[in-house]
Amino acid sequence: MIQFFSVSRRYTARRVALDRVSFEIPRGQFVFLRGPSGAGKTTLLKLIYCDEVPDEGRILVNGRNVAALPKGKIPYLRRTIGVVFQDFHLIQRKTIFENVSYLPRILGANAREQRRLAYRTLSQVGLAHRMSSFPAELSGGEQQRVAIARAIINEPEILLADEPTGNLDPSLSREIVQLFVDINRRGTTVLVATHDPTIIPRSGNRVLVLEHGRLVRDLILRGADEPRGLRGDRQVPRVDDTLPLGRNP
């Protein structure tokens, strides 16, 4: 579960990344975080995996106040959170197997166990046959799938994705979103930040909308025509956008 209680983050007095944001994401939910560039999506994700600390407010991740987490405890929190980025962040001189095996290696798994976990996880993203390849030998979509495999190899409680389809074409983007859906079905809470409304499935998903650092919408898509409402910047979503912010419908 992720809970934000009136969280603010200011880089300077005039540059406010997040302004008194409050919401709650229950365990196992799939949520899209939508907003234009500079709306504060990346900052919000960084606050969850402790790459930044809020200036105000409280953030609870599975009941732990991450804003007050001692530095030495942050790694242990991060082991329960998988993170995927737009530009993959794969290590080019390492094989795919080595790229996805960082966490098992940190946890002391032996070589055989590392290989087993890597194979199992790469199978989930359809890349078990590329274990010995190097990132440069893969397409953008495949590289993103490797990054996802790295994020989920330890079966995290939460998966965060920051513009995961930003570098991919629409068909590959749909594949990646489908992977997130599959991961979510196995019980992982998924939070995907995107500025692209076309990747948001037509119904059944929760969408948090950020604008200028403020949470302006918290809605559930419930109709075939809903993406249109989200797609057009000038249009206002027509369903459920009257839900109070921070409530779980």
Binding site: Y49, D51, K71, G72, P75, Y76, L77, R78, R79, V83, F85, H89, I91, K94, Y102, L103, R105, I106, L107, G108, R150, N154
Partner: protein
């Protein structure tokens, strides 16, 4: 991951890193080796000088030179008086002839110096051995002053004076060595810090991934610390090898002379070599620590 597994991992990663940036690692190793070599040469000199001083201190004598015109029997009188002192262990009478013989033996090339000389050449003397532990230095000095006023005595020569001068020289050498070693070692620490910083920069993406997936700072920094330590250790080994080879070379060429036999008589002890290794390793480790202090623990920038 157990501590042993972690150390094995650190060592493996450090070796990979050294291999990957071999040339700059070599620079760091050579820098530390040069500084330890210079420091080691001074250590070698001071150790040998110290040893010689200690040996000479044990054999220190007071030599009482008799006046040329001293009446006969004065030597025996003085020797008798001196032997009565409790802290005197031995008094040896050296006649003029015996002194000449000793001189000729020590400096054969100057042997002919006395051939045309008429009468006694070198003065007779009394060599007084004493127990330095049993006598107060001030009492010893006072006694020498009293003795010098005796009409039969020309000169009282105390070994302690030139031993003190050698000790001052040893202290000066040690000071210069320490200063020079410290300056060079600082340069070596700075070099290692730069090398490790460069390595951290080269690995910044991987470090960020490690942090992202939940590696502790111990796990992340360990390989860099071991890298600095290894560079320091390798530098120490290189310095020790250089010192040994130089010692052998100088000793084999210089031993026949007094200079060689004094300054390059013995090589550094295992304890001194260990000290060189420890100082080098710590310098490397310090370099790594200094370079990692700038790392703020952030992820991707």
């Amino acid at each position: 991951m157990t501590l042993l597994q972690a150390l094995a991992f650190f060592l493996r990663e450090a070796l990979v890193s050294i291999r990957r940036s071999f040339k700059i690692s070599l620079l760091a190793v050579v820098t530390i080796a040069v500084s330890l070599f210079v420091g080691g040469i001074f250590l070698l000199l001071t150790r040998n000088l110290n040893r010689i001083v200690m040996e000479w201190r044990g054999e220190a004598r007071v030599v009482v030179y008799l006046a040329q015109d001293a009446p006969e029997g004065e030597a025996e009188r003085l020797a008798g008086e001196i032997r009565r002192l409790a802290w005197v262990s031995e008094v040896e009478e050296i006649t003029s002839g015996e002194a000449e013989r000793r001189f000729t033996e020590a400096f054969p090339s100057l042997g002919g110096l006395f051939s045309d000389w008429e009468g006694p050449t070198l003065p007779s003397s009394l060599e007084v051995a004493y127990d330095a532990e049993a006598v107060d230095p001030r009492e010893l000095s006072a006694w020498q002053g009293e003795l010098a006023r005796d009409p039969a005595v020309a000169l009282v020569d105390d070994d302690r004076e030139w031993l003190r001068q050698i000790e001052r020289l040893v202290a000066l050498l040690r000071g210069i060595g320490l200063l020079l070693g410290a300056v060079l070692l600082s340069a070596a620490v700075f070099t290692i810090a730069s090398v490790v910083r460069l390595t951290v920069y080269l690995y910044r993406e991987e470090i960020a991934v490690l942090r992202l997936v939940g590696a502790t700072e111990f796990f992340i920094r360990g390989p860099f610390l071991v890298e600095g330590l290894l560079q320091g250790l390798l530098g120490s080994l290189l310095a020790a090898a250089g010192l040994f080879l130089s010692f052998r070379l100088i000793a084999s060429q210089a031993l026949p002379s007094i200079f060689g036999s004094v300054l390059f008589d013995r090589f550094l002890s295992p304890g001194d070599l260990l000290l060189v290794g420890v100082v080098g390793s710590l310098a490397g480790l310090l370099g790594s620590i200094l370079s990692l202090r700038r790392d703020d623990g952030s992820l991707f920038n």
